[in-house]
Symmetry: C5
Subunit: 307 residues, 5 copies
């Protein structure tokens, strides 16, 4: 195994060989195998936003097999989705791409001030479907957050006991935050810290802005002159917030944007020492050939094949 993967695994000294094996599967699969970087395809938008909003722009994506194929052809490190999408094709593509089973989900038919997610699958499901990791979303800032942390506590313990890796989507929102606060740099760094303290192996956060949401934090950022001006600065800070870089932190995109903008963000993540990207809507909401081209360009940046 190459040195960088060995180095990363060394950060997880409290985990079992089973869990290390699954983390290494994620790191050693696809075009970025061995680089310590990851590009993951996540497809929970059918549940989170609705099927037409997610797939009408590229109808083959209604089919659960499509995303397995896209992730495999693009050379992604892993494919992440809710129970139904995984059940719908896991046998057909067994062993061809690492799977992250997303254990909780939310729909958009009722918006709540303090959101939460429903628990929609289990660690046992992950095992029977051949997944190498389980994933959960938490909403720091929501009045429901403690119930979410507690549920993760039990499920992460069960996952680790079963030799699986644990991925946490840490997305601040809820009555403790306004819209700008959700992506503020202090909040984003805090979200990464919470996920790390909860025992996540891999942490997914949104790209932060230079806004600071909490007064008590602002004083410290100003006094200590924490650099947060460039995207690379902010990525570097968020990675630092996740145990001084000793946890894998990856960043999510958002709604469809221009390719140039996406690639600029990827360069920022790379320059700040981020571990990679999770690219959903920007990959499956365009024709497969276009998606493969974009993912190819992203991976080239992470692989150091282009500047």
């Amino acid at each position: 195994m190459n040195d960088r993967v060995q180095e990363i695994l060394s950060w997880y000294g409290s985990d079992s060989p089973g869990t290390l094996t699954n983390i290494s599967r994620l790191l050693n699969h696809g075009r970025l195998a061995g680089t310590g970087k990851l590009v993951i395809l996540p497809v929970d938008q059918g549940f989170e936003h609705g099927p037409a909003r997610s797939f009408a722009a590229n109808p083959p994506a209604y089919d659960p097999r499509y995303h397995f194929e896209l992730a495999i052809e693009a050379g992604c490190n892993a494919y992440a989705a809710p129970l139904g999408f995984i059940e719908g094709a896991a046998r057909d593509y067994a062993g061809r791409i690492p799977i992250i089973l997303k254990l909780n989900n939310k729909d958009a038919l009722l918006e709540e001030k303090d959101p939460t997610q429903a628990w929609t699958s289990s660690v046992e499901d992950a095992l029977r479907l051949g997944a190498c990791a389980v994933g959960f979303t938490i909403y720091p800032g929501s009045a429901e957050r403690f119930a979410m942390y507690e549920r993760i506590r039990g499920l992460a313990e069960e996952a680790k006991r079963s030799g699986l890796a644990v991925v946490v989507w840490s997305y601040p929102r809820g009555s403790g935050l306004d819209k700008d606060g959700e992506t503020a740099i202090d909040v984003c760094g805090y979200a990464a810290q919470i996920a790390a303290q909860l025992g996540a192996h891999i942490i997914k956060v949104k790209l932060p802005t230079s806004h600071i949401a909490q007064d008590a934090a602002r004083k410290v950022y100003e006094k200590e002159k924490v650099p947060i001006e460039s995207l690379a600065d902010r990525v570097r800070h968020v990675v630092q917030c996740a145990f001084a870089g000793r946890r894998i932190v990856i960043f999510s995109g958002g709604p469809a944007e221009s390719d140039d903008k996406i690639l600029a963000e990827v360069r920022g993540i790379r320059d700040g020492g981020g571990f990679g990207s999770i690219i959903g809507r920007n990959s499956f909401q365009r024709k497969k050939a276009d998606a493969l081209k974009l993912l190819d360009n992203i991976m080239k940046i992470y692989a150091g094949q282009v500047s």
Copy 2:
């Protein structure tokens, strides 16, 4: 086993042979056996609307044996009902009609803005009563929906482990939706997607209108020109929303209507690629001879014996 049933079973690659056997029982029973189409008799209205409202129009229907006989004589694929109605006659008709035990129910003695259902029987009940599937209702759009999804998660996992099939009645309602929204095409497609992502084998939804309830969805339907004008178009879209047609989606009627209207709807379901109908009040609220005649006409349409 005929080709179409084999094809349908191939979509459920993550399920056990036990569950596939039960799905095939549903598909291979009655007059539509082997066609890939289903007509199911559901009788939970005694619980949901009250006994007189449900059965006074045809008093023999107060008796739990009546519905077994009606389903058997009509050649339905299955009979679905709550615990009491199944317990009341399952021994008398054991082995003569596939049973779907409905695990949750609601009464009409108190209407709530965000409705839920009570859990009234168990997977173990289904097994001891010889059922081949369990059924649940969910209310996407209700503030109670996540608790419903979570309960289904556990029970569906238990059902699958026990070799049973899982049927979800996905009926949007609650404070997230107005009356028109409950049957809007975007909402209906979303309801089918949620049930599919929760791991349902068979999904029951209401026939959708061409109304679009959510602004974010409307933009997509318009931009992508998703065809929703005819009933067949809408059925086709809902079936697409359930994993590009790789999940069995059936449609429910509603209160008693003219036979012509019912048969027109059935033709729309057939033309749109729907998998069949679940016909409750329109069958047991009329004399048995009349019900058998209507069901005969419906099955002829699905069987391709009439246009």
Copy 3:
């Protein structure tokens, strides 16, 4: 075993021989043994209304032994009470009268708009105390009803697995109903249906009035001309609502009234095909000799010894 008891047992085809044995114990005990009719002594008023309100009129009734003796001397089919009253004398009268352990109870020290009951004993208690059935109260119409139905679901399943019979007191009340609605004929029939669908073997309801509480129901009663004018008509309808008479339905009295009125009600129950009475306050709130005389007159009516 006589024909009528055999016939009744035949309705419970999904139950185990153990449960059938216990139902037959109830039907084959006391003066009405073998008639298919039941008169049961229930004494939960100490808990529900308070001890002085219940027993000061006849102080020997403070003693848990009193009610066993009254039920035995009167030749009742069974005695029903909460944990304490049963524990207080079950050893002394073991084997002399079938016992129904009431598993939930409510006190009158705080009245709530949407009432519920506390769970005060268990199926395991019933078994160790030699009971042949467990009993629960539900309040259809209360916002707490679904929690009640769900608790019964689990406990009834456990009771059936243990070979016990299940008795449900179905008493509509709560914010879904006004005072008149609690005893309306449509609501009473609905209450019987709900208990039957929940899997009750024996259903206890209040005697209904000819009032109809729900508009949607009124339309049906009027259109289908359901007879509800005489008490016998209404009893017949409620029995029909419990699976066309294939579940045992008994009726409760209420606060102390004149003996003539009680006996007239009993005749109405008999004429309408009801299965018997549950007589609490009208039996233990008078001197024992008087109670025995009243119960004797009641049983004579059910036994067909008087008109």
Copy 4:
């Protein structure tokens, strides 16, 4: 074993020899051994009112060993306290005084309109610490009461299965009652009945006043001319409310009062057929010598050695 203890044990015919052994330990320990009377030292005020309010008047009482010594030297039947106080000295005094482990407790740092208690220790704790009984407080009249009854249900069942005795402190309070209602004679009798119906072996209530709180009860007390004028009358009535005297009912004091007043109350309890006293603050909030003297005088009254 003497006749009175045998007689008392005969009331608990549904309990195991293990539980009877523990009830007899309470009745056969200390200066009142064999009389059928009990004086118990309860010390939960550190938790319920705070340490300084409880122990500053007599600082040795901060030490958990103090109360064991006081109870032993005074010849009490038992010592009752929360987990910490029992853990703090149980090994030092093992086998020298029967212990009642109080399983729930409340603090005074936040007063709530509908109070409850926290569950702070377990039946398993009672067993490992050598206790012969577990104790719980309930608050009839509080909106939280049903949750309290239900928790007791499970814990009492577990305690009985483990051969322990069950003591219930039945203290009416909460939004269903005003201040006077908490000690009204009807409410106090009702509180004793509830504890008895919940399966308590020993019931602790407050001394009642002659006030009647509930209108429905007042009618009965007046119509049936229930004697409640003297303290002895009221004690007799409360004992009657606990299964006609077939459950052990003891009475609590309250804040420090004059010795004469305390002794007068004890005479009232004795004359009314009460089973004894539970004396907390009036014993440990004075110097040990004074406490021993007061307890000596109390026991003399119960033992019939003085009038």
Copy 5:
């Protein structure tokens, strides 16, 4: 083992040899080994206040290894932290410093009037990570306190059964208290009592002021002339409130202050018979050399090497 440690262990007579072994590990480790005094390094501020607010002043502290090294180099008795920080370095420093795993945590992204904490790790986690104790925070005065006490009840029982020690952070706050009340002497003593009654082996409280928050308490403090003027008086009183000094009580600092002020407080704790300090922000928010110097000075005071 030296006399003082033996004496302290003698207070925990109800605990297993396994738990005593772990308590003695805490008392016999580091520079204060055998003195009966403790200085513990706690680092949960990353979770509780956010990473930048906690670590930006001394960036090496973002790394989970830093705190293990600081605690080891300073000769602390133990290191306490949440799951992530312990998992992040426990293997690297296994056996070199006793670990207290903090089982619950709170974040600062939403402030609530009645705060609680989320349960973020388990007793099983503590065992697999080699911890010798588990720690919990409670908030006496919060409407959520009973749920916190109850969760501790179960986890402390499990911890004791597993031979671990139990540490409780008892921090009054919530709607029952105003800001001054949180550190009032009566409230602080009460907080220590509650933790002791809940079965804590080691109790951590804040340093109290001479303010008295509760009227009922003030009367007693005044009447009994409880000395609370000097810090040493107040420490002595709080220690008395924890079972007359028979439970280990340690005191926390707070935000960064001048070294002189910290050392004066430490002298007050020592003079009042406190068992030590828990020093978080004042140690890891300065450069390591400075922290070691401060901790050295603190330990010298506790060790009696300076006045």
